[in-house]
Amino acid sequence: MSNTTTSVPPPTRTAASRNLGLIAIFGSIVLALLGLFFTAEDVDQGSSVRIMYVHVPTAWVAYLAFVFTAVCSAGHLWGRKHSLNLDRLAGASAEVGVIFMGVTLVTGSLWGRLSWGTYWQWDPRLTTTAFLFVTYVGYLAVRGLGGTQHQRAKRSAIVALFAVLEIPLVHFSVLLWRSLHQEATVLRPNGDVKMDGLMLFSLVFGVAVFTTIFAWLVLHRNRVLALVDAVELRGIDAALEARRAEEVPS
């Protein structure tokens, strides 16, 4: 049987990562039940508020992913060992963050169609979020440029440390400028949460579920990137060996 068939467990799997994945799947099912069936409709928005249970958690966890990328990048740049594992964690986290931010934009667009009657507006929150998304797509492109693994790590770490500065701009854009997007309901500066009990619970539960999914994906992606780097190094080693063999006079 081929080693690439789906019946063979991926080499990145461990008992812990498997359990984390099962928790993520079970949590997603519970979240769907809460968000789609058990929570009440909103007084103003009706049933369209059910999009909130995926839209808001993916946005928050995307922020978390980008902050984690910056922390790992700082660890790589200023750490004594300049760990490549921290660089791979930064890259894995940014990839997952881009997926979550993409989900935020798509679900926000669908929610906007229901609430505002349009899929897109060049509103401060929407525009800054799209800009953040494009910035991290650019970060991933920078990671794909040539050079050694340490050159890649240093270059992308610097980009990550600048890119993370956009997050406060996105979060506070609804306060800084006149925006169609509603202001924060939970993370308000005065700490006053304006949400019903079960709705708030489901939202916080959604954040927990997507954080678990994030951890699970990053864990696996980090290991895949380690395998990619190992194969690359082996390829370089093999090429050097071949070159040395050619240079030996016969």
Partner: protein
Amino acid sequence: MKHADFIVISWVLSFAPIALYAWRNARRARRLDPFVEKSDKPWT
């Protein structure tokens, strides 16, 4: 489209990319596995 369609599509589009990404990662890992040594997989 009906109101409910937007909600269902939102939920499907939230989880579909995540599932696809997880599946692609697993496939990539399986394809790389024959080219690495056990020492390249310290988590095992």
